[in-house]
Subunit: 256 residues, 2 copies
Amino acid sequence: MSIVLAFANQKGGTGKTTTAVNVAAYAANANKSVLLVDLDPQGNATSGLGVGKHALKASVYDVLTNTATAVQAVCRTKVQGLDLLPSNMSLVGAELELVNEMARENRLKEGLVAARQTYDYIFVDCPPSLGLLTVNAFAAADGIIVPMQCEYYALEGLSQLINSINLVKRHINPALSIFGVVLTMYDPRLNLTQQVETEVKSYFGDKVFNSVIPRNIRLSEAPSHGLPICLYDGRSKGAESYMALTREIIRRGDGR
Amino acid sequence: MSIVLAFANQKGGTGKTTTAVNVAAYAANANKSVLLVDLDPQGNATSGLGVGKHALKASVYDVLTNTATAVQAVCRTKVQGLDLLPSNMSLVGAELELVNEMARENRLKEGLVAARQTYDYIFVDCPPSLGLLTVNAFAAADGIIVPMQCEYYALEGLSQLINSINLVKRHINPALSIFGVVLTMYDPRLNLTQQVETEVKSYFGDKVFNSVIPRNIRLSEAPSHGLPICLYDGRSKGAESYMALTREIIRRGDGR
Ligand SMILES: Nc1ncnc2c1ncn2[C@@H]1O[C@H](COP(=O)(O)OP(=O)(O)OP(=O)(O)O)[C@@H](O)[C@H]1O
Ligand SMILES: Nc1ncnc2c1ncn2[C@@H]1O[C@H](COP(=O)(O)OP(=O)(O)OP(=O)(O)O)[C@@H](O)[C@H]1O
Ligand SMILES: [Mg+2]
Ligand SMILES: [Mg+2]
């Protein structure tokens, strides 16, 4: 029985892609069969795993517009046990194209029905907005993981995010909930980090993961080599923190 | 005669808001009359200037949907000479609402006709996407300033950004061009910074501003006090770099 988790936060640059790619890789290392869906037109998760965007036979855009099945679009990655449903430039126009379609919010959910039988975990990397692509992810997901940068502007967006989640929960997907919140680019020496941590914990309580992700240059170098951190530098602080976070996610996921 | 510049990059977290707010404030300090338009549903530029979002008489949403004029929605800020066209939660739904409207791309341009007579500089802070809000900014603008984080994923998005600019230039606003590119969160000690700088300069040549913005904690603390850096800590490295950048922008703007 699979679990679908969306990595979402409309604030830009909070670490959604970095978290989705590295948690997916460590979950595969822990012998889970994992699918990562790149739902961002930027295609950062696709290139972060070293998959070329130009020679794809199909992409997540084709799945959303019903011109290919997920099985046809899925490709292997350099990580054993981790497959990718890739994204490319065609996704840029998808939101406008889907607006007047029937059941436009459920396209991803329908596209993943078969995949749910195959994978233990399906992770979805969302773009920095609350538009139709992210709503599709919310409709398909069992839970949402919110990567939360320890910065003031990141706090501001929380109430909009909660609003959007509640709207989808009420009208489209009653089972949707916040699976967890992870603090990223965490620097315990900074006041700002402590302020954000206190505020987030008072808002989300024990949904906040114990594992925090420190700022670590190796995490931002890895994508230029098309590698998740476990293959680029498995002994870095960034790698250790994502390994610990993944352990927590799987414990919660398996325990549901 | 005013000049309208949009701060845009669909990659999230590259410093669009931080650059728009601080350049607007320094331009006002240099005796220019300045309007900052917050076109992001997150409303970060609005709170970054200490303007409350709940008690607004009107916002940019009302201007886009023709229910208020820019003059009615504009408010003062703590910086002499800098006005703000604020944003709030209502903007979240604007993209879907505008999709089937007539001349949906030109709503902001029409809304700023009167403001162009009043201000020397009109700056527009864009959301991290290439949807209808950013297209509205491109249609209204004379030029685009691209804040570019010195990171691998930020490079990836350049070709999509150029594509979108060319589309708007061909179909809606033939005068549109890239006014300049500014390197943000610049750390000369990092390889990644040097790689990105070399690549960006080979792509954009002398459009790249000489002034670079270093990573500086005071820049990320200032918004929690609702202040631009010139009022929060005018002697910080972040303040000096934005003062220098603003001087370059005004020299290019006045010289057009
Ligand atoms: N813990 C970290 N330490 C250092 N750099 C990081 C860390 N996490 C992410 N980064 C870098 O910060 C930038 C933003 O991260 P990322 O792209 O993963 O965020 P995102 O939320 O997916 O952005 P977007 O909103 O554009 O989708 C990237 O360049 C990434 O390499
Ligand atoms: N030079 C800098 N040094 C340190 N922190 C910075 C710097 N520039 C921006 N920041 C911080 O990094 C985060 C991202 O910056 P900002 O919000 O301005 O980017 P953005 O491109 O507007 O993001 P979005 O894509 O969400 O609109 C913010 O928390 C900001 O305070
Ligand atoms: Mg991302
Ligand atoms: Mg912003």
